[in-house]
Amino acid sequence: MVNLNVNIAGLNLKNPVTTASGTFGFGEEFEDFIDLNRLGGIFVKGLTLKNREGNDYPRMAETPSGMLNAVGLQNKGIDYFLNTIYPKIKKWDTEIFPNINGSVVEDYIAVAEKLNDVEGIHGLELNISCPNVKEGGMAFGVSCPSAMAVTRAVREVYDKIIIVKLSPNVTDITEIAKGVESAGADAVSLVNTLLGMAIDAHTRKPILSTITGGLSGPAIKPVALRMVWQVYNAVKIPIVGIGGIMNATDAIEFMLAGSSAIQVGTANFIDPQISIKIIDGIKEYCSNNGIANVADLTGALIT
């Protein structure tokens, strides 16, 4: 028997496999394909205080071993989530983590306040790393003082678990990780997408309406692994590893580098059942390797 439970800042997840914000909708989109009750958690589509229409089409470009997106946080706002979506998805026996975004610190505060009293939601992901919005988003996550300021502000109004989602588009991610840890973050998730670009040589035009966008998929995995390893060695709070995880082996690598849990992102677009396959694969790996507790893999890299 393998114990798949992991602990994120006091919150038990039934297994380390969660789904990344922006790649799994609100979970409902995958209901036909998998038993959502089996997931360790779902980080739902990014939420803002008010309705956002997002960026113009085209918002996506396929790239070698990955894709660029420039969705720009299209969503119907936190109230719509709480009144219309959450009542439908709370039935699942898995942790739901809202991913919150803002143009200004006050937006983050207002969204966090609305989530604080929601029974059944035990934590949120503070997104300071979205590369696809003109104001706020990644701007908060690429400077240590602003990352700390927004974390501190949300900490003041939110009593439950805050997982700060970090941007890889920085010189030294450990500085930001240490900063948000000292500002009250309970955990960090990393990495968000890498800022990238795609050009159509025939038309001489950028493919994305926003010119630049966020790169995800296996193309970014080595960068993400490296950053998880660096952050693991720099902070005490748990890490949720993200970045091009396509299978159980990738997930285990992220745990060995220091992740307590992982998020499956872009892989959900290619195989809507991949999250469950990854859970099964991790279990099998543990069985085959005599690992009784999957949590023992966290940071177990042999160097």
């Binding site: 922006g22 790649t23 799994f24 909708g25 989109e29 995958f30 036909d32 394909f33 589509k45 309705n51 229409e53 997002g54 113009d56 089409y57 085209p58 918002r59 996506m60 396929e62 790239t63 070698p64 071993s65 990955g66 894709m67 997106n69 969705v71 299209q74 998929g217 872009t266 959900n268 677009f269 290619i270 195989d271 809507p272 059942q273």
Partner: protein, 254 residues
């Protein structure tokens, strides 16, 4: 219900060097598929094709458990899909998206261009079943680019326009003489390149005929999770994969 299913390649019917019909079969039952639905096909043996390819379903046979797709080889993915060995495995996610309205006991016009003709065999078959009279108008660059007319002929009158005049009337579909003067169609369906659909929708609006357009936006997930394939509508940006691909053309702000 949407599902992920493995199929095997039965064979190809190449229409010319760039256009083909692929037939796939499955050991298990095939889900119900409505005209306009599409599938997300995983391109096998092609590591440099990262995402699935969204392709309209051409036809389905529930007795034989086969499904057909008409594909225009435009890039690496669609070319590789045309180059698989018989019996090789193809994984698809389907049925996705909404479908065309089935109008009973009326007269309808179906306007298609390029690979946009794919959903129209299933559509016409359903329309005929409910006593609706179908007229097809197919637009192409040249005679060699006009496909499936034999199939369409089984269901109704087929009109053609070619840009070089090598078949049917010369010009764009919207320049066809059928659009001149009064039209007694109750409904227009269109699928093809955006400029063609926009022009068809414009005529439909002027003549006060309801028009449905099936969009072909680039997609990643195909199931409404990534929000990449949106089109602007009167209700805001909507996913073509879940709110479409078929839209009432009056709702589109394209």
């Amino acid at each position: 219900m949407k599902r992920v299913q493995d199929f095997n390649v039965v064979g190809y019917n190449w229409l010319n060097k760039d256009n083909y019909i692929i037939t796939l079969s499955s050991d298990s039952d095939i889900e119900n598929i409505d005209p306009g639905n599409f599938a997300e096909i995983k391109v096998p043996n092609s590591p440099d094709v990262f995402l699935r390819r969204p392709i309209s379903v051409l036809d389905v046979d529930h007795g034989e458990n086969t499904i057909k797709f008409y594909i225009k080889a435009m890039g690496k993915g669609t070319r590789q899909l045309g180059n698989l060995d018989v019996d090789s495995k193809v994984n698809i996610v389907y049925p996705l998206g909404n479908s065309f309205s089935i109008i009973h006991r009326k007269k309808v016009l179906i306007v298609g261009g390029g690979s946009g003709i794919a959903p129209f065999i299933m559509l016409a078959s359903k329309l005929i079943d409910v006593s609706t009279e179908v007229t097809f108008l197919i637009g192409a660059r040249s005679k060699g680019d006009v496909f499936l007319t034999d199939e369409f002929n089984k269901f109704g009158k087929v009109l053609v326009t070619t840009e070089d005049g090598s078949m049917g009337e010369k010009g764009l579909v919207t320049q066809h003489s059928i659009f001149a003067g009064n039209m007694d169609f109750d409904h227009i369906y269109t699928c093809g390149p955006d400029p063609m659909m926009k022009a068809v929708a414009q005529i439909a609006h002027e003549k006060n005929i309801p028009c449905e357009a099936s969009l072909e936006n680039m997609m990643a997930c195909g199931i409404g999770a990534c929000l990449c394939c949106v089109t602007p509508t009167v209700r805001g940006n909507e996913c073509v994969c879940t709110e479409g691909p078929v839209f009432n053309s009056k709702d589109l702000k394209w």
